[in-house]
Amino acid sequence: MKQQVKTRNLKKKKTKESDILENKKKGLRNRETNVISFIFVALFLLMSGYLVYFNVFKASSIIDNPYNKRIDNLENKVVRGNILAADGQILATTQVDEEGNETRYYPFENVFCHVVGLNSAKTGIEGLANFELLSTSGNIIEELADDLSGEKAVGLDVVTTLVPELQEAAYNAMGNNKGAVIAIEPSTGKVLAMVSKPDYNPNDAAEYYSEWLNYDSSESVLLNRATQGLYSPGSTFKILTALEYIRDNDDYESFSYDCTGSAYVAGGTTIPCYDGTVHGHQNLEMAFANSCNGVFSTIGFKLNLAKFKQTCEDFLFNKNLDIGIESSVSSFSMDENAGISEIQETGIGQGKTMISPMHNLMIISAIANNGVMMKPYFIDRVQTREGSTVSQTEPEERATVCTPTEAAIISEYCRTVVTDGTGYAFRYTSYEVAGKTGTAQYDSSDRVHSWFVGFAPYDDPQIAFCVILEGGYTGVPGAQQIAKSLLDAFFE
């Protein structure tokens, strides 16, 4: 400012040159340059403000990314924290020997292998919570003390939502079959158990990892089938077909159909009921309970196909599940231009539709939770080694996918599946189950994938589950029996 005062003392130089500015209006003469200065002051303050805003609000979520190799750099300074089960049992820990060599150790070996993941590959929760496990409480004095003594700081512990009893029950029930079992709490989205088979012993990863990588996808032990596997949904998809029928037809309660064991549509194909069963006279509820293909392969012609596609996308088909760990996107492609046989096949969950077990569970879980789909989560809280909580996960609604009335109708249908239909395994259990069976053809052979999705207890759902047994399974009659082992453990 003083410099400007000084300039006022300057006088116009006597000169003949025409390019000397005439500064007669003294008060105004610097106005234009001042305007530019102010613009830039504003721009720079905006930038500084943004940098501060970025650091306060955005940085923590951005840096927590498997592509952020900087986090691995923290391993030089911090001993990775533990991953704990909901009851505090250790699922993963780092052992340090006398020479300071660190080994990641997984006490449960194969049981939690996919969901806990591998530290070396940063999969599962090891990848999801990578930054937390390598973070310290942020106490500068403590850090300096560690620095002085030359000792590494200890990373934070991550307490998961996983329940070892359920996990072990599901793991054992699966035997040597391929497939996946997942259980969540419908009202919150807490993941209680997640098993995928075939599995591996994470403690052997150092030795065998490169060998595991070379397996075919059908044999891959590293693939988490629960979230990454994509299967035909089979009859479990009838949940959405039925829902769309209810939405499009107000008189759905008076629906009727006479099943002759198979259905032929002119210009399409003949689709038989499972095992050629003749269901006879069916209303919608019984057709759902009996999983009648005659009904569901023809019902598609009474649906608004554009709306049906929208409904499926509202239920997260063709969308990222966004659950924090690696997952595949389910696909649904039928629209109003579909051909006749495509409409037939899609209605019964065959055709081009593909779904991941986790997604199928999220759908049934939303039905159990009055139409509100919760976001599944694995990490309940982050705490220091001494046990004081650093951060706590709050349940989060992912989407409202249908009305409570619609959810109640589908729930009731799912209950009828167990009491009067194909869900016979739960007819005499002490707890009341609702669910939907599914058998999905995946090639020209007789072998089928066996599905069961459901929740229990029927009137107050505390657990929702999804079981898929890949074709060629042995030792069990189907997915229902594995779900039963899981629920027996849950209600024990």
Binding site: N9, D19, R29, F54, I62, R70
Partner: protein, 454 residues
Amino acid sequence: MQLIFIELSKYAFAFLICFYAAAAYHGAVIKEEKRKFTYVFQNVIMFMIHLLGFLILYQLNNEELKYLILYFAQFIYLFVVIFVYDVLYPRASRLLVNNMCMLLAVGFVMIARLDYNKCVKQFIIAAGGTIITFFIPWLLKKVKSFRNMGWLYGFSGIALLLAVLFCTEVFGANLVLELGPVSVQPSEFVKILFVMFVASMFNKSTSFAQTVKVTLIAALHVLILVVSKDLGAALIFFVVYLMMLFIATKCFWYVAAGLAVGSAASFGAYKIFNHVRERVLIWRDPWSTIDTTGYQICQSLFAIGMGSWFGYGLGQGLPDKIPVAEKDFMFSAIAEEFGAIFAVALLLICLNNLILMMNIASRCKTLFYRLVAVGIGVTYGFQVFLTVGGAMKMIPMTGVTLPFVSYGGSSVVSSLIMFALINGMYNMRQDEVEAKNETAGKNKKSKKEKNKGK
């Protein structure tokens, strides 16, 4: 012990540069006679930061002697720059010289941390460039006909840009001209020619016809740059032209019309040019293409985010994970290892430079000089905005350097020329004052005016 040293140095760096920035703003508002202490204070801080930086690098690199040798060479260089300006051009803005040296010193430390050999190269080019630019203030004062060579600046600028476009199209060169062993990035120098061109044309006349003529030539510059895919430079030229037009004509409506046309043109460019669309897509969502096109900006955000307030400590982060960190993403590398507080202080020093440039612009009595000062100031300020805003994903990335701090010979030499021009004007402005005072003694009429002025 070494870790503790680095841990404490983080806080030292942040506090030192904050004090420096505070001194720079304090210095700008106090009388020039009282600034002696500010100057010395700034220089002491600068040398402390430079020394501390190289001590850490020396420690981290197994106490290799070459780091100490480079340090001493740079120490002497920085000392000589300050000394020479002080002796040859005592009326130049010492604050601007100090800021320039501070930015160079920070740049030297960071480039040496990324790649010792690049730092040596940068240092040699900077030293050579400085020696040449020592003559610029003297030339500016002696040669009055600079203001009359408008068409020469304009056409040589266009010719250079076309040469680059040709080489890029034909030889696939990336916006550089190969001249024997050296590769030059001409757009860095055309920036200056462009400013001189516009200043000299408007100095002649600001009539409507002249304005149209200049606007057409300016638009041609921008168009060639857009086609050459040098979007950052194109934006800089556009904004610089608007601001200079505003100063020359004092007409707000020209600027408004320019902005409207510019927005329409950018929308057109977005529709026509694939590379423009790609930049915008990366900006809006780099995460879905984190493996390919989004990789760089995501790494930059990781770097800034991991750095937090005080940074990882020099040599402790992974700034080399960001492709071409030493050029376009220097700001992210600094934010990672020195922290956000240091980075904000660095931004404030850049802003201080811009204010000093606008200050001399407002005091220039010749339209030509005023326009040159404004043009250079806006070029500098807007370039900082583009590179820093781009690194933070506040705006789309345009691939320009942070003047004096980023690695790159053309960038550092053109920045040196721009600052030397500004200092030349500081130098002359005060010559004018003396000339006036002399005449004032003889001329009663002007004495009266002087009193009125008070």
